[in-house]
């Protein structure tokens, strides 16, 4: 309902404003151009940084100070705390960064974003920046038409900055002209009522513009033109800080529970900081005056003093909140509890994860492992074994020989419910992600798609195997029973080995990949031995020709299942960031090499 009324109301107010005041039109156009510049800047940084930002982010998870520093530096460089928040949410959603590290980054981003006020106050309002804006726009747009993605990214950053400067110029001009016809300062309200009123206006302006940066520039330009008082500007800045959390909250709507927790942390931090700033406004004003005096800022240079205030109260917020970071994370875990996981649904593929290439790959790999887990259970039951028997038995072959329990299972129904849903989600996610991913990730995406398809194929093979395996595992003919138990053993042994290797660290994954080659060669050996055994027991009339045919057909299913499971594991075990794994991938043998190596 609110949404339906909000947009027409905003458009109506803007339209009325344009009609009564051409100066207001200029200010509004300035804000719009500024916001457009922010979009360009964010787009540029996204393509320009490639995977660098994500790689750096992954390294900031171990210490709170590193997370803080990352938040400060990245937001200072990109001048967008929203972009940093969105990246952090996407990483938390994909399970790559802990909530505590994410909160640290958000705290840092709050300090980083204050550098924008310094730049505008010190540079943007003193120099005729429109003179710089024009060439930047021209160069930026020309570069953004280039094929090279780096030039394109650089062009977007340049054009973004150009638009930001142009926006500031129009806001400045608008306020200069506006003060001749209408004095906003006359509306100033003294004391705490004024503080709350203007903080509220700051919140509303930031919610509407979706950028605290734009609000802050608007405040600074209005302050420079003496359209608002210094005290009211302080309150507006506090409000802008609280309002900016709305962007994070909107970003978290499509994220999973972890993303929502981070947005909650953002809101709590900014609200607490805002309350502290309002409660101790007198002390803050005194501290700002003292600092300004010490660093040589003139007593009447209110724009610079506002920048000092903005940095100071965010810094105080961080100092107060950092010791509470773990307690805050604990509370958020309680407020946003983990829902019981529906294992049939994708666990890692959120829309938030699709934003950045490294997140896409990591989330995808986790989801393919999840698909493997679901398939593992179906395959185990398909060959009439429990998952725990495969994983825990000390003598797997003996367990298989002795256990003759037949499991009730409708593979088609379980496949539809547990595998197809996940597989479809993975394919859908890949096709959506691929449109936005740089080409260097295509090979890895292809590998993961193939791995998912192979897992699904394996389930289908086991479905075919199940009919005869169930029939002959309880047969009185020990020869055919033994042979089918061998097939059951082969499938379960491979599932068990993959599960074991997966639990190892990155370094052992590299060796695990190579060990899987040995299993592939063992399967080839088994194939040759089976041919010999079948010929022998058939010749001795120990099995019928029908049994032999079934056995050879079913062995092909097992052979194919084993090979596909091992290929899948090799695709999933390789880690991008691990050089030993990269080297091991090059050493993995292909089909012909294995055949050659295992030949008698």
């Amino acid at each position: 309902m609110l949404r339906k009324i909000l947009l027409p109301s905003i458009l109506g107010i803007l339209g009325y404003g344009f009609w009564v005041s051409p100066d207001f039109k200029e200010i509004a156009a300035g804000v719009s151009i500024f916001l457009f510049g922010m979009l360009f800047l964010e787009d540029g940084f996204k393509s320009f940084t490639g995977g660098m930002l994500e790689k750096l982010l992954q390294k900031t998870t171990n210490k709170t100070w590193k997370s803080l520093l990352f938040g400060i530096v990245s937001t200072t460089i990109m001048q967008s705390s929203s972009l940093v928040s969105v990246i952090t949410i996407s990483f938390i959603s994909a399970g790559l960064v802990t909530l505590v590290a994410g909160i640290g980054i958000i705290f840092g981003a709050n300090i980083g974003t204050t550098t924008g006020a310094w730049l505008v106050a010190a540079f943007g309002l003193k120099v005729k920046i429109s003179a710089y804006a024009m060439p930047m726009l021209v160069f930026g747009i020309v570069l953004s038409f280039q094929k090279s993605k780096y030039l394109k990214g650089f062009g977007s950053v340049l054009a973004g900055l150009g638009f930001l400067f142009l926006g500031i110029h129009y806001m400045k001009e608008g306020f200069e002209a506006f003060k001749d016809t209408f004095d906003l300062a006359a509306l100033a309200v003294e004391g705490y009522p004024g503080l709350f009123l203007f903080a509220g206006i700051g919140v509303a302006a930031t919610v509407i513009m979706q950028s605290s940066h734009a609000t802050l520039v608007l405040i600074l330009t209005a302050l420079a033109a003496s359209q608002i008082t210094y005290e009211n500007a302080l309150a507006l800045a506090i409000g802008a800080n609280v309002g900016t959390t709305i962007t994070a909250i909107i970003g978290s709507l499509s994220a999973n529970i972890q993303g929502k927790r981070l947005a909650g942390a953002h809101l709590i931090f900014n609200a607490v900081t805002g309350i502290i700033a309002i409660a101790f406004i007198g002390q803050f004003v005194w501290a700002v005056d003292a600092i300004s005096n010490r660093v040589g800022i003139a007593a009447d240079n209110y724009t610079m003093k506002l920048a000092v205030f903005h940095t100071l109260f965010n810094l105080v917020g961080v100092i107060v909140m950092v010791p509470l970071i773990h307690r805050l994370a604990d509370s958020l875990f309680k407020v946003f509890p983990e829902k019981a996981k529906d294992l049939a649904q994708p666990l890692y593929l959120s829309e938030a994860a699709i934003e950045f290439p490294e997140t896409v790959l990591k989330a995808l790999k986790k989801e393919v492992w999840h698909l493997f887990d679901s398939a593992f259970e179906i395959m185990a039951h398909g060959i009439n074994l429990h998952r725990r028997q495969i994983l825990k038995s000390t003598d797997l072959q003996k367990t298989i020989d002795e256990d003759r329990e037949i499991h009730e299972l409708d593979i088609d129904e379980v496949y539809e419910r547990k595998v197809k849903v996940l597989y479809s989600a993975i394919i859908d996610f890949i096709s959506n992600a691929q449109a936005q991913m740089p080409s260097i990730y295509s090979e890895e995406m292809f590998r993961l798609r193939k791995a998912s398809a192979e897992i699904v194929e394996c389930v289908k093979h086991v479905k075919h195997l199940r009919k005869n395996a169930t029939r002959y595992m309880v047969s009185d003919n020990e020869h055919i029973r033994d042979e089918y138990n061998r097939l059951r053993y082969q499938v379960s042994m491979i599932l068990r080995e993959i599960y074991r290797l997966r639990g190892e660290g990155d370094y052992d994954h590299a060796l695990g990949m190579l060990e899987l080659d040995e299993l592939k060669a063992e399967i080839q050996l088994e194939h040759r031995q089976l041919d010999e055994r079948v010929t022998r027991i058939l010749r001795n009339d120990q099995i019928t020709a029908m049994m032999a045919t079934s056995l050879l057909n079913d062995f092909n299913y097992v052979d194919e299942t084993s090979r596909q499971l091992l290929d899948t594991a090799q695709a999933l075990l390789v880690s991008h960031s691990d050089l030993v794994a990269e080297a091991a991938r090059e050493v993995v043998l292909d089909k012909d090499e294995i055949e050659q190596a295992s030949a008698a």
Binding site: L579, A583, V587, S598
Partner: protein, 79 residues
């Protein structure tokens, strides 16, 4: 330097940064040492008494590890 050549150079540096070096020679050496240890371990186990079936399997595994070692040596030579 021509502008297009400068762009090519920038792209190459960026690609190299993103993909990492093709195969790290030091890591290959590390891998070779591990494969060498594994070969020694398998050879020692073959000295022990075991069923013919187990022996066949172990010999097959040994052949695979030797092939991997050979491949890594070839890779190192060519890189």
């Amino acid at each position: 330097m021509k502008f297009s050549r400068l762009i090519d150079k920038v792209e190459k540096i960026a690609d190299k940064y993103q993909q990492g070096d093709q195969v790290d020679s030091q890591k290959l050496t590390e891998l070779q040492s591990l494969l060498g240890d594994k070969i020694a371990r398998y050879q020692a186990r073959l000295e022990e008494d075991m069923s013919e079936q187990k022996r066949d399997k172990l010999e097959t595994r040994l052949k695979v590890v030797r092939a991997q070692l050979q491949k890594s040596q070839d890779l190192k030579k060519s890189s």
